[in-house]
Subunit: 376 residues, 2 copies
Amino acid sequence: MKFDLLATDPGSSARAGLLHTGHGVIETPIFMPVGTAGSVKAVHQRELEQDIQAQIILGNTYHLYLRPGLGVLEKAGGLHRFNGWSKPILTDSGGYQVYSLAANRKITPEGATFKSHIDGSKHHFTPENVMDIQRSIGADIVMAFDECTPYPCDYAYAKKSLDITHQWLKRCVDRMQSTEPKYGYGQALFPIVQGSVYKDLRERSAEFIAAQNQPGNAIGGLSVGEPHEDMYAMTSLVCAILPASKPRYLMGVGTPENILECIALGVDMFDCVMPTRNARNGMLFTADGIINIKNERWKDDLSPIDATLGGYVSSFYSKAYLRHLMINKEILGAQIATIHNLTFYLWLVKEARKKIQEGTFAAWKNDMVKRVRERR
Amino acid sequence: MKFDLLATDPGSSARAGLLHTGHGVIETPIFMPVGTAGSVKAVHQRELEQDIQAQIILGNTYHLYLRPGLGVLEKAGGLHRFNGWSKPILTDSGGYQVYSLAANRKITPEGATFKSHIDGSKHHFTPENVMDIQRSIGADIVMAFDECTPYPCDYAYAKKSLDITHQWLKRCVDRMQSTEPKYGYGQALFPIVQGSVYKDLRERSAEFIAAQNQPGNAIGGLSVGEPHEDMYAMTSLVCAILPASKPRYLMGVGTPENILECIALGVDMFDCVMPTRNARNGMLFTADGIINIKNERWKDDLSPIDATLGGYVSSFYSKAYLRHLMINKEILGAQIATIHNLTFYLWLVKEARKKIQEGTFAAWKNDMVKRVRERR
């Protein structure tokens, strides 16, 4: 994996780059739609590529391991072949499930034991087998196995957890070095900075992660309920330590505003369920702010959802029709809203990239942040 | 509306024709996907046109009247403009709701009073206002307001109901003649033959309906639970009476087998929720029979869903991936299965049409019926 840093914004730490993978080149900054179980909910693969213009999507190790299971994925020749998405894929490691399934897992220095959310069966994840699973899934970017700490998290726990995350990282690196990809293309490991909202832990973690000298680096454990100022402060601190020559991925972030602010801090890659999950509830993100499409106000508004974006779906369907579908709980409503929101997120990072390359990002960002957070 | 009868099969009563409407030409025999509330569930309009190659879809008067309501539809310039489907639309009249909402409606010679399934509010439908509503919706083909009798239905009730349906038809015809289309293109009224499974009532009804001399004719009140032999017997009887020069529409039918058999009896148009509703439960119709895609058997079957059809979706996705999506209740599963089933239904009627034009329909039909009803 190769990362070309093409431009840095004079008024901020924003960067534009190219990330080369075995399934093509990714233009950064980039937003990665979440496809937990091998499908970005309510979106066809063709729509992801042609309408949304996604360049990379996420899968989730824990979910894919449970279903369809590694046997099917290996027989298919990996997730790309299984789901028909031929561009890059990144798999989250299951570290987020260590956080979200708190009541149904136990962590030891050896690894984590989960109770499946599907049938209650027990599964043991270790840094080693999580790497092996990601070899079988065949993602282009595989994430280290870590603990994503909750918020709030007391200092003692955050410190102890960080030590485990760092020990696990060593084992992840070793395992990746001692195994080969299964499907003929390279797989890059991204370590994850943790440390909750504690400056010294975040600094120590960022230095430790940077020292592993992996092809890219991630920032985890944010966007879990902490104030935005903490998220920005930690991101800023960590970005200053992580090497500029490698892509930086801020996990699970966020609103359009969060993304713009964190691009300004030097982040290159983002993922979040917000555009997809909120779409299914009728919340639309547009270039002019946030819309609840179920509101009476849109009942007879026959204007396109958002013609600014140039996307087929956002221009073809009207607000009134989408409202009608959402009110009627028609599946097509979820489909249209999801495609729209993802089209908007991809449009936003593309615009940001253009502004970075033009050297006008900072001023544009300050204006755009005000627009995208407005509630209409 | 003009109907060109192009060919009649020498070995059956099957016909191939062209039905000209204000939104383009329909090749018959045809299957019409059901879009009750202005959306064929889980399918984009673009997919309907390009992948499924639907030529006409259905809307439902009762549902569209309740939501989005006539105000919005009129402001949009009719349903085509509202939902972006620019090919022909047929609207069911609400007669089916007279049947399906039996507990929540009251019929008098004047009309029917419904309690809305949404909020319990009362609505009065008459032949006149149902025609007016369909003028506002703007369908190319509008159905007469009738009573669809249940099965079983005693003779006395079927007879009394038929008299009301015929009286209502007169009022529908009068109303259509005394009003104008709202959006600049013609709207054709199709009367509906009723009479339950009683030969004399069906004959009388078919003669009465034929005498109205409308641009097309429909057969209702079948596929409501009666044995298939009754459905075929009534259809055969009625087709022999309805004029050959006009299209014949058999409402709510049916399985692929039913459709093939009824094409052989002289039916030109079909609609049914089966391909869409059953798709959402994992039942797939293919050229080689019926599949329950949730079965363990398809778990690692990486072959295309059905490459015979030539459709993008049915060739692109594998059985194993679709099974995985259905088992995980992923929305994309419903989307793929629906597009597949409709692609199959449209493929089936297109193949039938080809065989009719070649004069080889009867033998092909007998073979095909065996294949499509097989459970794999």
